[in-house]
Amino acid sequence: MLTIRNLHKRFGQTVALDGVDCEVGAGATGLLGPNGAGKTTLLRILLGLLPAGGEARVMGLDPFREPRAVRARIGYMPESECTIPGLFGVDAVAYLGRLAGMPRRDAFKRAHEVMYFVGLGEERYRDASEYSTGMQQRLKLAAALVHDPELLMLDEPTNGLDPKGREEMLTLLRELATEHRKHLLLSSHLLPDVEHVCSSVVMLRQGRIVRQGPITELTSGEKGTYEVKARGDAVRLAAELKALGAEVGGPGGDGLLVRAPDTATIFRAAQAAGAQVRGLKAVRRTLENVFLDAVEAPRAD
């Protein structure tokens, strides 16, 4: 879906992107990073709105050479609160559909459909500038969807939403990705949002990619790390584990956190220590752990 090679961008003395390299496949991908990491800049470059050094391909198209062809196939939901002033909600969506190159009749028909889809069906004929923040977020999503793009680029789509609105927005996005086979690039600094919708992530920090890959892979933790719950002498068990070459990282949850080559080593140590293993599970890391490790680790340079 996206191929990015050595992408760099400066605004005066500020380095916004510093040699970004990544491949983003089909499906929903989260673009994670703290504020100022370069997420919005990256989206704008991919839309062909900003010039930059390096190479990029969006669905096989070069955004620097064919920006309009790229934008015709992308639905973009900007971060800021924005609307077309003085138009009814449905007219604003149809208008943006026409600007995307849709015939007038199709644009209006489709605008009505997507307004229902995002839950603004009853509010179609209200002035868009009178919409609440939550409704404006939905309107922006409707405008991004109106020309039925293959790829949706969403910049902080849950900004300003209350918990219920946020849940609904995330449900919509997940449905789009799973049921309607839309490819999503969701930029956010909210980890639960990304976990809720996406299957893979790209993590940015100070204009560089620090981690990327499927969420399940990133959170699977280090191979051979287990949380062991045992009945018996915990100190002796720890000593036996160490004697068998395992590392004991101290208490993890209500048991021991053990790094061992295999589970048989743990059972052998328990037998030697006269302890009974009551619980054994591989440790998974949360996306938050992965993210914090990635953004807090010192930079290589």
């Binding site: 309009r68 062809a69 900007p78 800021s80 002033p85 190159g101 500038s129 793009p149």
Partner: protein
């Protein structure tokens, strides 16, 4: 209202960049403006007044009860020897200019400012839309309203002349004059729309944009006429955008002397300078507009 996930349908068409986007912008902007009652009212009154006065002046002139200056010209040159359409166009020019400035402030100056205030530019430019189409679309919507004032009355004078004149072949004979009068209207539209939109791109407040445009028009008028009088140099009238258009109109549609009182300076102005002034004002407006739109779009 709850979301309706099952309602999503695929669209079988294919979106692609189209130059018709400028037309879509213009048509939507015109419709949006016409939803505002005040705009509807002012546009209707202005265009009816302009068209009505053009037609009435023409009819009264034919009846011999019209403007004394025109009667004087008819006595001097005879009705068959003067181009009445050109004379009446000359007489309307100043009035239409001020109406045009007011209308450009009302419907043209807010066009970009309100998009900036609503942060709409990222929505526009995330579509396959270029800056040229955006600017053209906005300019065309301003031009539509200005045309109601600066073109329709002129065309109506021609229609009245054709309808009421007994002269044979009058429609064909007056066609070149009609085209010239429409061209002068077009020049007025170009300079007013570009300056109004240029000013509009400088602020996020539509009211400030309108007041600034009016201020520029009044100050330019006052400065140009004061300096032209004080320094006895009619070429200084180039400082006023619409004076350039009026001088070009006088060149395209020459009228026999005497001219309308107060236009002697205008007639003495060099027509080449007038074209230069027109080009500078229009170009400056467009340059500011394009540069600001590009900058705002990148920064927003």
């Amino acid at each position: 209202m709850p979301i309706d996930i099952a309602s999503y349908r695929r669209w079988e068409g294919r979106a692609r960049a189209t130059p018709l986007a400028a037309y879509a912008i213009a048509a939507t902007m015109v419709r949006r403006r016409m939803r505002i009652r005040l705009v509807r009212w002012i546009v209707s009154v202005f265009s009816l007044m302009a068209t009505g006065s053009a037609a009435a002046t023409f009819l009264f002139t034919l009846e011999g009860e019209g403007d004394p200056m025109i009667q004087h010209q008819i006595r001097l040159f005879g009705i068959d020897n003067i181009d009445l359409l050109a004379v009446l166009n000359h007489r309307l020019e100043g009035t239409l200019g001020w109406f045009g400035i007011l209308l450009a402030a009302l419907v043209g100056a807010p066009l970009i400012a309100e998009d900036r205030r609503a942060k709409a530019l990222p929505l526009y430019f995330s579509r396959p839309l270029g800056h040229v189409e955006y600017v053209l679309g906005k300019a065309a919507s301003a031009a539509f309203f200005l045309a109601l004032l600066l073109v329709v009355p002129r065309a109506s004078m021609y229609l009245v002349e054709v309808a009421f004149s007994d002269a044979e072949g009058i429609a064909l004979r007056q066609l070149p004059t009609l085209l010239r009068t429409l061209a002068t209207g077009g020049l007025g539209i170009a300079v007013l729309a570009s300056v109004a939109l240029g000013v509009s791109s400088l602020t996020e407040r539509p009211t400030y944009a309108a007041l600034t445009f009016l201020g520029i028009s009044v100050v330019a008028f006052g400065t140009a006429h004061h300096l032209a009088d004080a320094l006895r140099d009619p070429n200084l009238l180039v400082l006023e955008p619409y004076a350039c258009v009026r001088r070009i109109a006088l060149d395209l549609l020459p009228v026999p002397a005497p001219l309308r009182p107060g236009t002697e300076d205008l007639a003495a102005m060099d027509v080449g300078r007038a074209w230069t002034g027109f080009g500078i004002w229009t170009g400056l407006g467009l340059l500011v507009l394009v540069l600001r739109v590009r900058r705002v779009e990148v920064v927003t």
